[in-house]
């Protein structure tokens, strides 16, 4: 990498949209992961043309460029491992078009998920991926990570709802991908590769998103279980029954305790709960789904099942679920919640045994791991909780992560179902995808021959996540 000419960048985006003070570079060197590595410079472009100019300059000078939204990424996606230009896209936050009649909208990458949904609501539509971080997650970030959340069980992940996009390639070329239509057949669906590519293939500057009519009714239920395995079995049975929940979440006692302690939510103190929701336009259809799920839960030893259409109650429970990740740091004094081994997905029939295995692996390695997640989609969140200031505990956490991924792969699961790979999960993912890594590298090479776009992530990430960057904690 050659020296970065800050003045050159200022001439493109304006002086006030460039920062190179060490303090800013430090701040822009971290996200919600365990990693940190300072940026060389931070720029905030406002237009496609500005981004094109930046990319041309960076490509000529072989300078890494790391696109960044709100940086709620959990595995180091936006951490500039080699320094370089961090491109903060939050100023590109316009909703360009909402076309209910065509069932799509067009947005810039810096639009916040919740803001988009607020804008869509009067039209009777919503944007469905719904990650827990929707209050700050940008659409660009959701595309980068192929994010999803509580509603993925019915509406899928981001990739399922992106129809097309405008992308600026590493050389500054602007290309248009996909279509405005609900189906399109010809050619390679490159837009689908861009989704989930974690900023390694291009800068998404406009996205065409498929929107969904807002259901008139939503009903939520809670089922309690005395064993996490029973709850896991119920999830499996609900999905394989053909039921169509709009949410199917599992939370174990560690998660329940953490949110109750931190948010005083008063969730039942049992081994596990399942939160389920059905939505629709007609009460009869919602009731049908809810009854069906309730009966399955009861068959699988669920008890005290409560169901409610009350929006306030639903919001209260959603809040607890959405804040679970952070609440885990309050589970036990001196124990910190780290974003490691956090979002594997397993085949539907493997939920119960994976939940059981997670607790066993945690116990064996002297760390704490919660089991929760959008299990209806097969996603199991864990997080590894330990004393992050103790060097030995990092070895324990590393071993736990390794054992967990070996197990997940052995049952046909995948390394990440929701948050992406970046740095922390790369060694395990590379093991899972060993025979396709070269194809991925070929794609990367074709689109970014100089390897300037978010380099050394995914297939090109270091083999040891622990030493890939400095850790964000003071380890002794």
């Amino acid at each position: 990498m050659r020296d970065i000419e800050t003045e050159k960048l200022k001439s493109i985006v304006g002086e006030k949209n460039v920062q190179d003070d060490p303090a800013d570079l430090y701040v822009y060197g971290s996200d919600a992961s365990v990693h940190e590595s300072p940026a060389s410079v931070v720029v905030k472009p406002k237009t496609i043309e500005e981004i094109q100019q930046i990319m041309c300059y960076a490509n000529d000078e072989l300078i890494p460029v790391i696109p960044r939204g709100s940086a709620s990424s959990t595995s180091g996606h936006t951490v500039p491992i080699d320094g370089g230009i961090v491109m903060d896209l939050k100023l590109m936050n316009r909703i360009l078009e909402i076309r209910p009649e065509d069932i799509y909208c067009k947005v810039e990458p810096g639009v916040i998920d919740d803001d988009l949904n607020r804008a869509l609501k009067p039209h009777g539509f919503f944007w469905p991926p719904a990650p827990a971080s929707s209050r700050i997650a940008t659409i660009g970030g959701e595309i980068g990570a192929n994010a999803s959340g509580m509603r993925s069980v019915k509406y899928g992940a981001t990739r399922d709802s992106v129809l097309g996009m405008k992308v600026i390639l590493a050389n500054g070329d602007l290309i248009t991908l996909g279509s405005n239509t609900r189906v399109a057949t010809a050619g390679y669906p490159i837009e689908r590769i861009i989704v989930g590519s974690e900023g390694t293939l291009g800068i998404v500057v406009e996205a065409t998103l498929k929107i969904v009519p807002l259901p008139k009714l939503r009903c939520m239920g809670i089922a309690k279980f005395n064993k996490v395995e029973d709850a896991g079995k119920a999830v499996t049975d609900v999905i394989s029954s053909g039921a169509s929940p709009s949410m199917l979440e599992l939370m174990d006692n560690i998660g329940i305790t953490a949110v109750n302690k931190n948010l005083n939510l008063g969730l039942p103190d049992v081994a596990a709960i399942i939160l389920f929701e059905a939505d629709g336009m007609i009460k009869e259809s919602v009731d049908y789904e809810m009854e069906k799920i309730k009966n399955i839960c009861e068959k699988d030893k669920g008890f005290n099942i409560e169901m409610s259409y009350d929006a306030k109650e639903r919001t209260r429970i959603y809040t607890g679920r959405k804040k679970l990740f952070a609440s885990l740091s309050r589970y036990k004094e001196g124990i910190i919640c780290t974003d490691l081994a956090d979002d594997m997905a397993v085949p539907n029939s493997k939920i119960a045994e994976t939940a059981h295995e997670i607790h066993k692996i945690a116990e064996r390695n002297n760390v704490i791991m919660s089991v929760y997640g959008h299990c209806g989609s097969g996603v199991l969140h864990t997080k590894i909780m330990f004393d992050v200031t103790n060097k030995k505990k990092w070895d324990d956490a590393s071993k736990a992560a390794s054992e967990l991924y070996d197990y997940v792969h052995s049952v046909g699961g995948t390394t990440s179902g929701e948050h992406g790979i970046a740095l922390s999960k790369a060694p395990f993912w590379k093991k899972e995808k060993a025979d396709s890594l070269n194809v991925m590298r070929s794609i990367k090479k074709a689109l970014d021959p100089n390897n300037i776009l978010n380099p050394h992530k995914l297939q090109d990430a270091p083999d040891n996540w622990l030493t890939a960057t400095r850790l964000r904690y003071r380890v002794r």
Binding site: Q19, D21, P22, A23, D24, Y26, V27, Y28, S30, D31, A32, V42, K44, S70, A71, S72, D88, K90, L91, S133, R135, I136, N262, K322, K323, L324, F325, A326, S327, S329, R330, G334, I336, C337, D339, V388, T389, R470, R472, Y473, R474
Partner: protein, 351 residues
């Protein structure tokens, strides 16, 4: 840099998962737009100072001090990270490392000399009643208003006892002068030697709750809310909006009490677009008025414009600093919006 105070908060800094939920409502981040302007960024900077990965600088000090301590970040934080305590510690360490602002020193010198933030010899409205009352610097300086507010208490059956009080020390605390704070706290205790008293100022009240754990002050609005329903009040027939002071709504959780009082005295409340615990800050807290006055005024201007957009001509609030900051901007913007303390409305209704 020695991090005498920050090191006590290392675990809390680790608890922050850096999820960025605190961006959502941060008024400083919304105004300035760089991540170092939001709570997560400021905590990362604090961590950098603690770990030694960052060398202290004027630039970092500016970022740490450019915060109105509005607690919006804490309201939104999933892990309940004590952002304000951490930033207060960072400020104290930066001050000890020599990052001092002339405007801060000038303000603190005024308190040291005269016992109030105005640096003037102010004669308090001494009253020899039964229930001790703390006015706080801002109301002390508004003697006529204070006397009227004390009349409210009398009307409600309280016999106020007003002494020759001195500043509770809040500016020393929030601006990072911990040693000076201790000295001022001793003076405060000597002048107001009571465990229980009524506090007339929102900011003093919140500061005392946090920094004098043995004292049991009661905020004036609690007292009024309890007693007012037993009295006949005039109905003012006024339409107004209400600005929730950060320390009252988020700090003390008092959102309903002022609204109930407004209802009882016949004020039709038109809510601002953000209100209650989600209310935007006017920019008057955290020492921002002294550290970066233009920034504080920008936040205030935004709030004033929000009120004007509602089509009301009166904005009421409780915190004297919010009242000052919003009133100042409203006046400069042509005076279309009248900013008035809610206690003035109560006075009008019952006295």
């Amino acid at each position: 840099m020695e991090t005498k105070y920050l090191k006590e908060w290392e675990n809390e800094l680790n608890i922050c998962i850096r999820c960025a939920y605190c961006f959502e409502g941060c008024p400083i981040f919304k105004q300035l737009g760089w991540e170092a302007d939001g709570a997560r960024g400021k905590l990362v900077l604090s961590y950098g100072l603690l770990s030694g990965e960052l060398k202290p600088s004027k630039y970092i000090a500016d970022k740490i001090f450019q915060c109105s301590f509005c607690q919006d970040c804490m309201e939104r934080c999933s892990a309940n990270v004590r952002v304000i305590d951490i930033l207060t510690a960072a400020r104290a360490d930066l001050v000890n490392a020599g990052f001092k602002y002339d405007a801060h020193l000038e303000l603190l010198d005024k308190i040291k000399r005269t016992g109030n933030i105005f640096g003037e010899e102010i004669e308090p409205p001494i009253q020899d009643g039964e229930t001790p009352v703390l006015l706080g610097c801002r109301l002390l300086e508004r003697k006529d208003d204070s006397i009227r507010y004390l009349e409210i208490l009398k009307k409600l059956g309280i016999k106020p006892k007003v002494v020759d009080e001195t500043c509770c020390g809040m500016p020393f605390g929030v601006l990072g002068y911990k040693e000076d704070l201790k000295k001022q706290q001793e003076k405060f205790r000597k002048r107001l030697p009571y465990k229980e008293f009524i506090c007339m100022c929102t900011t003093c009240m919140f500061f005392i709750m946090k920094n004098y754990p043995d004292l049991k002050p009661k905020y004036v609005i609690e007292e009024i809310a309890e007693r007012l329903p037993h009295y006949n009040t005039k109905k003012l027939g006024l339409k107004a909006t209400y600005h929730d002071p950060c320390n009252l709504a988020r700090g003390m959780g008092m959102v309903n009490e002022p609204r109930e009082i407004l209802k009882q005295i016949g004020v039709e409340l038109v809510e601002l677009p953000t209100h209650g615990k989600q209310a935007e800050c006017c920019g008057g807290g955290g020492g921002l008025l002294t550290t970066d006055n233009p920034l504080a005024k920008k936040l205030s201007e935004k709030r004033v414009n929000q009120a004007l957009d509602l089509g009301v001509d009166t904005l009421t609030t409780l915190c004297p600093t919010c009242e000052f900051n919003l009133g100042d901007v409203a006046k400069k913007n042509g005076g279309k919006l009248k900013v008035i303390n809610l206690l003035d409305l109560v006075y009008e209704a019952i006295c």
